[in-house]
Amino acid sequence: MNKHDIEQLITIAGQDKICSDQAELMCYAYDSSLDSQLNKYMPDAVFTPRSAEDLPAVLAYCNEHNIPVIARGAGTGQCGGSVATGGGLVVDMSALNKIVEVDTDNLQVIVETGVVHADLNQQLSTLGFSFPPDPGSTKMATIGGMISYNASGMRAMKYGTTREYVLGLEVVLADGRVITTGGMNCRSLKTASGYELTKLFVGSEGTLGLITKARLKIMPLPETKGIAVAAFAKLGDAGKAVVEVFRNKIVPSAIEILDKSAIKAATMYKPSIKLPQDAAAVLFFEVDGPPPGVTYQAQKIAEVCQPIAQEVSWTDEPAQVKTLWEARSVVGAASGRVRPGATRVYIGEDICVPITNVGAALEGIQEIGEKYNTIIVTYGHVADGNFHSAPVIDLENPDEIERVKKVGDEIHEMALRLNGTVTGEHGVGIVRAQYMEREHGLALDVMRTIKQALDPNNILNPGKMGL
C-alpha cells in the first residue's frame, strides 16, 4: 500500500475515516494474543466506517489494487485474527454500533456488527429477553467479532454457540458487492432454502467478507437462577461429577471449573472468597428456569455430587447465588496476580476436549507448566470441556517467553491427542493456523477452494486460519 493508495482511499471514504498517522496505526498493531505483543503487526492505514454504506467502494478499490483488508471489532481476540500480518488496511468496525431493530414477538433483533454484546443484552434485558451466547468479554466484545470467531462463553452447553443464533447477515464481499444471507426480507426463525451461507460466514474470521449487519435470534430471559458449588480432592472426580449430573437428566446452564492454581488466584485476589484451599478443583453449576425447577435442579446436583465431592453447597437465593458465583467471575482478572510484577499472557488458552477427558487435560496442563517451570492458572467451561489456561510470566525475561511458547504448543498438541480441538471459542487466526491441517485434513483444501471463489485476490484477512 503506497501513499497514492492512501490518498485515493481518502478521496473515496473521506479524510475523517482514513488514518495513517504512525501513532494511531501502532494502536492497531495488536489484539490480546501474546504473539501480537511480541511481533507488532503494523497496518498501513486504518479505516473507520461510520455506516455500512462506507464500505463497498473502499473494498472495491482494495480488491482492484490487491490491498489486504483486515476487519477488527474490539480487538479483544486472542489468536491474532484482527491484526495486519502483512500490512494493509485495518477496518475498525467499532462505530457501526446501532441496534437497528428489536422484534421480541418474532424472537429476533437486527444489529450493526460493531454493537457491543453487553449493550445489546442490556437493552434486551429491559424487555425480558437476551442474546444467549455470553462471552467473558461481554463488556467490550462486538457482535461482529463474536460471529466471526463463533464465540460462546460459559452457557454454551445449554444454549449453544453464536452460530446457533445467527439467522442472517449483510456482508460486503471482497469486490465490494453486498449480499444478504438468510433471505433478503426473511424474518423466519428457520429456513431450508439454498446453501446455508449464513453459517459459512460464522467463524470465517473475516476471510470471506466483511459482515456489517446481523439478524440474531433472541430468547426470553430465564425467570431465576440457582447455583451448586462442589469441591473435589482429585481432578478426575470433578469430571466424574459432571458426567453424573448429566446422567441424572439435569442440564445446567453453566458448569465452570477452577483448578488448584485458580482457587489460589481467586483467594489471593479477594481473600473474602471462601474456597477450600486443599481441593484439587471446584465446580460451579449454574441452573436456570422457573423457580421450582431451579430449586429442584440445584438440590439434585448437590445430592449427585455428595458421594464424590469433599464438600457441596447450593442455593436458590439471588443474593447468595451472586456471592457463590463471585469466585468464578474474578478468576480471569485474578490470574495475573498470582505472581506480582508478572503478566498473564494469552497462548494455548482455549483448548476444548471431550468431557471424559477433562481430568486428563487438567492434569496435562499442570504437568506442562511444571515441565517448563511456568505458572499456569486454569479455569474454564467444563460442561463442554473448554479450558482457559493462563500462563503468568515476566515479559522482560526472554527465556520465559521462549518457554511459554513451548507451553502453548504442548497444550495444543495435548488437546489434539485427547480427541479435542485447539480452539473452543477464540478462533484460529495466526496463532493456531499451524494445527489446521491436522484438525481438518482434506477439508482444509475445500476451505481454500471456498476462499478462492469468494476472494480470488486473497485480500480479506490474508495469512489467517492456515488458508
Binding site: 494502536c27 490480546s32 473507520t48 480487538g75 495475573g336 496476580r337
Partner: protein, 434 residues
C-alpha cells in the same frame, strides 16, 4: 516514574480491552488511540525505543481526561491514568512543554505574579466577556480568544479574591476545632461564593478558620501536563506554608486540590524524604469539606433551615469513588437539610468531560462527553445540580446552557450555607423550584 519502571507497569496491561467499555473519550471517538489500551501500547513502543513520532504520541497522551475510570475497573489492576501522566512527564523532560503552557506555568509558578494577574483579570474581563442574562452564573466571550471556543460559557472572575476578603485568622468564640482552609484557585478567584460558604458553615459549627495568605495553586494543572518539577515546586511551597500552622485539619473544597494533598504530592516527592515527612503530617489531616463535616466534626443538624429543592449530585472524578472516595458523605450532608429531595442520576460518577485543561484543548470532544452528563441530569427532573469541584461546575454550567436546560449548578457547601442562613434568617430564604 522512571522510564524502566513505567515500562514494567505498562507491560502488565494484558490488552483485554475492558477500558473500552468505560472510557468516556473512547465512547465518543471510537478509535483505539482514544482508549487506555491504545495509549499504553503506544507508550510501550516508545519505551522500547521503537520509532514513535513524539508529537503524535504527545497528542494521543493528551487526549485523556485522567478521570481514572479505566484504572478503577482494570482486571489487571493497571492504573492507566498514572502511566499516561508518566508518559507526559517523560516527553516533557525530553522536549519541554508547549510554548503556551510554558508561558502560563511560568506565571503560575510565581505566586505574586499569578495573584496579580488573576486579581487584575476581574477588572479587565468586562471588555472581553459579557455576563449571561438569567440565573446561570456565566459569561460569553465578546470576540475570539485563544484556547476558548467561541460559543463557550465561562464563569466571571470575582471582583475581589476570597483570601483578600478575610483576615488570615477568622475567629469564633470557644472554638471546637481550628482548621486551615486550602482554597484552591477556583474558590479564590472565581467561585468565591463557594469559599465564603465554606467559611460560613465552618463558623456556624464553631470552627475557627485559618486562611493562609501565602498558600498557592495545588499544582494539578502543572504536574498533569508533565511538568513534574513545577509540580514539586508548588507542592513544597504549600507544604512549607501549611506545616507551619497549628491546626487540627486542612480543608479542601475541590477534589483535585484534595487529591493533590492526599495522593499526588506523595507521588511527586517520592525521592524527597524530608518533604515526604512534612507532607505526612498534613495529608493525614486533609479532608474535603463534606468528609470533615460528617466524619471528623459532624455538623450541627439542628441549625439547618429548610431549603426546598429537588437536587441531583455529580460526583467529580477526583473527589468521588475513584479519587478521595467522598460520595456518601455528600449525600449524608445534603439529606440532612429539611426540604431537600435527592434524585440520583443513572451515573453520578461518570466524568463530566472537563478534565482540567482538556476541555480547552479538546472543547468539542469534552462537550460531547458533557452532553451525556447533561442528558443524565435532565432525566432526573432535578432543578439543582450540586458538586464538589469547581472545574466540573464550570463545565456543567456550560453544558446546561448549550443544551438549553434550566438547572443551575452549585457547590455542595453553598447549599449547606443556604440551609444555615435560612435558619438564622439573615439571608433571604431561597426556594429553588424543581
Amino acid at each position: 516514574m522512571k522510564a524502566d519502571a513505567v515500562r514494567r507497569v505498562v507491560n502488565q496491561c494484558v490488552r483485554c480491552g475492558q477500558c473500552r467499555s468505560v472510557c468516556p473519550v473512547f465512547q465518543e471517538i471510537r478509535t483505539e488511540a482514544g482508549v487506555a489500551r491504545g495509549k499504553l501500547a503506544l507508550l510501550r513502543s516508545f519505551l522500547e525505543g521503537k520509532d514513535v513520532p513524539e508529537a503524535e504520541l504527545q497528542g494521543v497522551l493528551n487526549k485523556c481526561l485522567l478521570c481514572k475510570t479505566c484504572g478503577s475497573q482494570c482486571p489487571s489492576g493497571v492504573a492507566a491514568d498514572e502511566l499516561v501522566l508518566a508518559g507526559r512527564e517523560l516527553l516533557a523532560e525530553k522536549n519541554g512543554l508547549s510554548p503556551i503552557k510554558k508561558a502560563i506555568f511560568t506565571v503560575l509558578k510565581n505566586r505574586s505574579a499569578f495573584d496579580f494577574c488573576l486579581s487584575m483579570a476581574s477588572l479587565g474581563q468586562r471588555f472581553g466577556v459579557k455576563r449571561l442574562k438569567g440565573k446561570h452564573l456565566g459569561a460569553i466571550a465578546r470576540f475570539p480568544m485563544p484556547g476558548l471556543a467561541r460559543r463557550r460559557i465561562i464563569p466571571m472572575f470575582a471582583d475581589k479574591p476570597l483570601r483578600k476578603q478575610y483576615p488570615e485568622v477568622i475567629k469564633v468564640k470557644q472554638p471546637k476545632a481550628r482548621v486551615a482552609f486550602f482554597t484552591g484557585c477556583m474558590a479564590n478567584y472565581i467561585y468565591t461564593g463557594a469559599g465564603q460558604a465554606t467559611i460560613d458553615v465552618l463558623l456556624a459549627n464553631q470552627i475557627e478558620v485559618v486562611l493562609p495568605k501565602m498558600q498557592h495553586c495545588c499544582g494539578y494543572p502543572v504536574f498533569t501536563s508533565g511538568d513534574a518539577e513545577g509540580g514539586r515546586l508548588l507542592a513544597r511551597h504549600n507544604i512549607d506554608v501549611f506545616s507551619e500552622l497549628q491546626v487540627d485539619a486542612v480543608i479542601t473544597v475541590c477534589g483535585s486540590c484534595g487529591s493533590a494533598w492526599r495522593h499526588e504530592y506523595q507521588r511527586l516527592l517520592t525521592d524527597d524524604a524530608q518533604y515526604l515527612k512534612k507532607l505526612e503530617g498534613i495529608s493525614c489531616k486533609t479532608y474535603d469539606i463534606a468528609e470533615y463535616l460528617t466524619e471528623v466534626m459532624p455538623l450541627d443538624k439542628t441549625a439547618l433551615g429548610e431549603v426546598k429543592a429537588q437536587i441531583t449530585i455529580h460526583d467529580p472524578c477526583h473527589l468521588g469513588e475513584r479519587g478521595m472516595g467522598v460520595t456518601k458523605q455528600v449525600r449524608q450532608l445534603v439529606s440532612a437539610i429539611p426540604g431537600i429531595t435527592i434524585t440520583e442520576m443513572k451515573q453520578p460518577g461518570r466524568c463530566c468531560g472537563s478534565g482540567g485543561s482538556f476541555n480547552m484543548a479538546h472543547y468539542d470532544l469534552s462537550r460531547e462527553i458533557n452532553d451525556c452528563k447533561i442528558a443524565d441530569i435532565a432525566k432526573t427532573g432535578a432543578g439543582l445540580v450540586i458538586t464538589g469541584c469547581s472545574s466540573c461546575r464550570m463545565h456543567l454550567t456550560d453544558g446546561l446552557v448549550q443544551n438549553r436546560k434550566d438547572q443551575i449548578v452549585m457547590h455542595t457547601v453553598e447549599l449547606l450555607a443556604q440551609a444555615y442562613a435560612a435558619k438564622q434568617g439573615r439571608e433571604k430564604h431561597q426556594h429553588i423550584s424543581s
